[in-house]
Amino acid sequence: MPIKTVKEAINDALVQSFENDKNVILMGEDIAGGKGREQYQGTQDAWGGPFGVTQGLFTKFGAERVRDTTIAEAGFFGAAVGAAMTGLRPIVELMYVDFAGVCFDQMMNQAAKVRYMFGGKQKVPMVVRTVVGAGFRAGSEHSQTLYSLYTHIPGLKVVAPYDAYDAKGLLLASIQDDDPVIFMEHKRLYMTKCEVPDDLKPIPLGKGKIRKSGNDITIIAIQRMNLFAEEAAKKLAEDSINCEIIDPRTYSPLDEELIFESVKKTGKVIVVDESNPKCSLASEITSLISEKCFSDLKSPVAKITAPHTPVPFSPPMEDYYIPSAEKIINVAKNF
């Protein structure tokens, strides 16, 4: 089976979706980089966005469907809403999720609410692809995750794949989905690899995944945190602590059943989230477990999150900011 990076898997899913459905279009900044000077051949499509994820699409599918935008997120996010309502399946790029604040209104008040408040006649099948995450030495304004901002808003779906397999399967599903989906790609995962079948089917939104089964402790890991969860689980296995790792994969809707079942089995839970702690996914999942698995819990759910600070630039501070395998191990050993 072919081995792919997350980046390639996403590109594959995009190409496949473009080929299968002529209503799929893409809008974003610098996705047609270089096309500015038409007189120079061979320079277009040089970028595909800053991470090169969409490279090749402009050449393959043309300027009509692969639309290079100005730095006007409120404008083209709104356009995606209108295009989605009238029949297209637009994908829009928010280059970094840190820019969420310049176009949050179109997601929160239009994309999320038109179906509901206008009486159910409309649907908004759009996907926001965006890049999240710390650990890139990218500073306070290019490193946030902000999962919870979108998860809080009814009407939006939130998806955050960990590996290339899930990235492809979930993106295919997101593009086919009839609701607005925020699809979050972690910049530190782009180059990670795994096997991805060419004929991979869409993975239904709202279904979590047990990345490792175990009986002693449930680790619920948000996106990149699966990396640390796996590391920790390996180390803990040496001490005969057998962890179950759950990747919820989608945060709205959340696969509560999968989580609760695991907690019933283990009675001990660690939730690991790279976000700031207050009103985070970690808080949400913790509160759900505390409510629904009250008598199953042997000790309080442990939350491991970033502190309540912006993301610092300097490596020692940023490394301290991000949850780690060590932190998970420490908590696990103290249960």
Partner: protein
């Protein structure tokens, strides 16, 4: 102009005026819940623009949407029922007066966020362009919206992408309690379009025939040349920002003067020139009034939604237990 269209125009003008007067009445009586924004003084813009559109063309509106919805031929009874918050409302009671919208009539939505509409309409127009569709796309917004970034971003992209669409700005003299000229940097509001080298036209928003003519021509130009066009129609906001607004900031003299240009008054004065005699006019008026009365009678007696209807249609698909 053909007779049918002429009759339609007059009927819509009267319907909107009668409707909004009735709304003012029930607002005073506090018969209906929530905010009510009426559009008395905007009838010529609503009707003139819509007269130039096809039934399935796309529009967006704002919280001040009754006139647009009526002129877009949305079901009057269902509009009213929506304002009353009833189950048979055009949005099933979930929207209310501010969000009246009927997708089946090309109404993309009535947005409560100032300047949220232009980007959305840009998207509909983009879709038409990509699919070689024939529908025109029109965004209605007020003089207050031109200061907002979302308008600018939509305007810039529309021009850049050669998107046929109309930005229709109703310059009614006020944004809430603030007079238009208090916030205007340029001599004319439509000068804002210079930032994008966008074609623009101004018109008398009280003259339904002028609005119709300008819009008609703009649509042809916009489609033929594949360009967006900015239209500014000047009129006067006789109503307050919302019903209950004291309007203390609107000087009496100003209101009195504006009455000379009341769009309904002008339309009546013009009717003879257009070959509509007094009897016919009276007949149309009565039909309009009757329809309005019927709509309110209907709405008053409609059932309330079930409380649990609040949980429906948030998504196309989502696990029920997670709502």
């Amino acid at each position: 102009m053909d007779k049918k269209k002429l009759n339609w125009i007059y009927k819509k003008l009267f319907t909107i005026r009668f409707f909004e007067e009735r709304i003012k009445k029930i607002a005073k009586e506090k018969t209906v819940p929530g905010y009510l924004h009426t559009c008395i003084g905007s009838e010529a813009i609503c009707v003139g623009v819509m007269a130039a559109l096809n039934n399935d063309d796309w529009i967006s509106s704002t919280y001040r949407n009754h006139g647009h919805a009526i002129a877009k031929d949305c079901d009057l009874k269902k509009i009213t029922s929506e304002i009353y918050g009833r189950k048979t409302g055009i949005c099933k009671g979930r929207g209310g007066s501010m969000h009246i919208s009927d997708f089946d009539r090309g109404m993309l939505g009535s947005f409560g966020i100032v300047a949220a509409g232009p980007p959305v309409v840009l998207g509909a127009a983009l879709q038409e362009k990509i699919n070689n569709g024939k529908k025109m796309s029109v965004s209605f917004f007020g003089d207050g919206a031109i200061h907002n970034g979302a308008f600018h971003e939509a305007a810039g992209l529309a021009q850049l992408w050669n998107i046929p669409m109309l930005f229709v700005c109703e310059n009614n003299g006020y944004a809430e309690a603030t007079a238009t000229d208090w916030h205007l940097n340029t001599k004319e509001l439509s000068d804002i379009s210079k930032a994008y080298d966008m074609k623009s036209y101004q018109g008398n928003g009280n003259d339904v025939f002028e609005v119709y003519k300008i819009t008609n021509e703009a649509i042809i130009e916009s489609k033929n040349n594949e360009i967006p066009i900015f239209l500014e129609f000047k009129n006067y906001r006789f109503s307050g920002q919302y019903e209950g607004d004291t309007q203390l900031y609107q000087p009496k003299e100003e209101i009195e003067e504006a009455k000379n240009n009341d769009p309904i008054k002008l339309a009546i004065e013009n009717s003879i020139n257009h070959g509509l005699n007094a009897d016919k006019l009276e007949e149309i008026k009565n039909i309009a009034l009757n329809e309005v009365n019927e709509a309110f009678k209907y709405a008053e007696t409609q059932p309330w939604p079930d409380p649990e209807d609040a949980l429906k249609e948030v998504y196309v698909s989502y696990p029920k237990e997670n709502i």
